[in-house]
Amino acid sequence: MTKQVTKMLLSGNEAFARGVLEAGVDIAAAYPGTPSTEIMETIAHFGKDTGMHAEWSINEKIAFEVALGASWSGLRSFTAAKHVGLNVAADSFFTAALFGGMKGGFVMVIADDPSFHSSQNEQDTRMYALAAHAICMEPSTPQEALDMTKYAYEFSEKWESMVVIRSTTRLSHSRGPVILGEIPKRETNKGEFIKDPAKFVCLPGNARRTKPLLLAKMDEIKDYSSKSQWNVVEKGKDPLLVITSGVSYLYVKDSVQEMGIDPTIYKIGLSNPMPEAKIIELLKEHPECLIAEEVEPYFELKVKALAAENGIKVKIYGRKEKVIPISNELNPLILKESLSKVMKKEFEAVGKGLPTQTEINELLPNRPPELCAGCPHRSTFYAIKKATRKRQIKPIMPGDIGCYTLGFMAPLNAVDTTVAMGASIGIANGLAHATDQQIIPVIGDSTFFHTGIPALVNAIVNKAKFVLVVMDNHLTAMTGGQPTPELGYGAFGEPAGVVMIEQVCKGIGIKNLWIVDPYDHDKTIEVMGEALDCNDLAVVISRRDCALEYSRKMRRAKETMDTYYTDEEVCIGCRTCVRDFACPAITFDYEKKKSHVDESVCVGCSVCRSICPYDAFTKR
């Protein structure tokens, strides 16, 4: 992304980041989450020398508040999160939307995940914007992601409101050619906070006075929305009107081209407040209307209400008519089918008479995501299993959000609940009071800091008994390896402050605390046993670098890793390693009846040595 290059193939996320940099943003803060992570990564990568401040915050709420504080000080600010990250930030989000006062432009990109590619739910950020009376925009392509982000800063400053840009996985993680602009040179990145309590103190009196002002402002923007450059009518000859936004618009375009039809398309880029006047005008001109949008019937409900309120005779097709599926993302095939239904055209399903996907999937082995070879989480889970089995305990294991959620998979089957970031410890609090069962919540290091700490404080205060296992791999691993508070470096790779998990635990008064290396398998089993036996609130920090990061480090240092192989003289073919442990480096050769280590995958963790009952694994 140097100046002389004018066109690059960028992902939606990279384009958002470029927009942020071209808008001269001074402060950017985020917590990683798929599919939004690369926005902040790209800002940090290319913003390093601009004099801006960029940070990985501890959670999305704090990231939001960092940006809000900056905006209230007159600086352009930015935050990004995945859709569920907005839940964490929602408390501040609603009130910030109400009070406004954004002196420096405040833009946030929230990436929704229709089809649950990497998420626990499918919520629609536009509904949040609607509920909070926040401005919302929806780009369709990487180029629009860049252009809209830059525009959103001007818009935010004009209305002294924050702007929410809604992305989806298929925009954030798709690539397209993007024409780049200039990244401005900056003089200073210091603003000034000017006291104005009526504007920034959300006491009921102030809030009561502010609400009508917000509603009046949103009404004004609504009128503007009908004329906005981002809400575009593409006039067609067919009597059908299609209202659409985001990537759905692209699928409509693809389908229309392929089917050789010519409906009028209304592409909505500024989607809250909705361009009501323009929608009414278009509904009057068209006898039929299809609404193509992803996740919730956000346009659909409003468009139907507008038609009814204004007595417009138009047949509107959406989810209720089962023309657009109620869940999962759209795609060009779905749109083709929907358009065929509405236009009463023949729709021929493709692939007739060919092997079906079901037949194909039946033959092929499943490929669920798995913990990597040498992953310390696997060793920790395995040690917990051994320690509890020895005591004939069947523990309940509330899990959390991170790579270790994959402990859910066979053969570990070690995760009993997963709800939200930090929820393992919260749910453990409830289970501890509700049952006499042994509770072992597991949480990662980044998630512990994110929302785990208050729940652990709660356990001390309210006397909940459980053994918390913090799987500390020194990284926010699932999202690609962002730093955690223990590492001492920031988003740019610059030196940062350090907070250790044991410091937190000791500080809040955890009396039973162990730190153990999960590669030292026997010791980990022993420590888990002690923790279970103490019959009190206990914390075990299982600490070992992420195996992926470890192999990266070794590769960078051009060092070779230790590897292990099966001593076929010793292996009796009991299959314990593949059946119970399931390290991806180990397979089983049914002809030889011996296990086999793929040494190109092995990272030399040596745990297979400890789990093999016959000591068949040998160091190369």
């Binding site: 050619p177 375009k253 060919l354 059946r579």
Partner: protein, 207 residues
């Protein structure tokens, strides 16, 4: 502007860690170099931990990032079995299927006693009804010959560029390689060798 009159669509199928995203970047940048409009989609995150990874590349007059079923001109597959999982994307009869004969056994297969990776013939039996142009390439062996097993993806890219009427040129691919691995001469040379081995193999198979 040298944009295409008709769209050309490439589905890449593979497993996390087989270089699907790198291959997509090489092809995408080749298109950008030739000023051909290109959109591509990819899925990151959880899938990368040994899961299925697919990428779609669409060239020319297209809008969205997804290839509809029966829309791909080429299915380029980095793992034998994964070819079948993505085969519905191919344009029936006319689409090219270029597949790695190398297999990657998912570790979860070991949990169930006696569970085996299916025979190549039974996988091919599911693929062949979709296309008459199925080409099996042992990218593992060719990558080994090139000097780095990680270049299997580039071996298969070489085969892709050997398809008659393929819209991207070797010249732009070379430039894309130089962008991708800027300054790393040795890696570029190894990848170029891998590319040529794949290219020649495909030419030979098409004779």
């Amino acid at each position: 502007m040298t944009d295409l009159k008709k769209s050309y669509q490439i589905e890449i199928a593979g497993v996390g860690g087989t270089g699907v995203l790198t291959a997509a970047a090489l092809i995408g940048n080749s298109a950008l170099i030739q000023d051909i409009y290109v959109v591509q989609s990819e899925i990151h995150g959880m899938a990368q931990r040994g899961g299925v990874v697919n990428t779609e590349i669409r060239l020319g007059p297209v809008s969205g990032p997804l290839i509809p079923d029966a829309g791909a001109d080429v299915l380029l597959s980095f793992e034998l079995g994964e070819t079948a999982r993505a085969v519905r994307k191919i344009k029936p009869k006319v689409g090219y299927v270029i597949m790695n004969s190398h297999i990657i056994v998912p570790p979860s297969l070991g949990i169930k006693k006696g569970a085996k990776y299916p025979e190549a013939d039974s996988i091919l039996a599911l693929i062949k009804p979709y296309s008459e142009k199925v080409f099996l390439i042992d990218a593992f062996e060719l990558a080994k010959e090139a000097g780095d097993l990680r270049t299997q993806n580039v071996v298969l890219c070489g085969a892709l560029f050997a398809i008659p009427d393929f819209p991207l040129t070797i010249e732009s691919l070379k430039q894309a390689l130089n962008i991708q691995f800027r300054g790393k001469e040795k890696i570029i040379a190894t990848n170029m060798k891998a590319f040529e081995l794949g290219y020649n193999k495909m030419k030979e198979l098409m004779k």
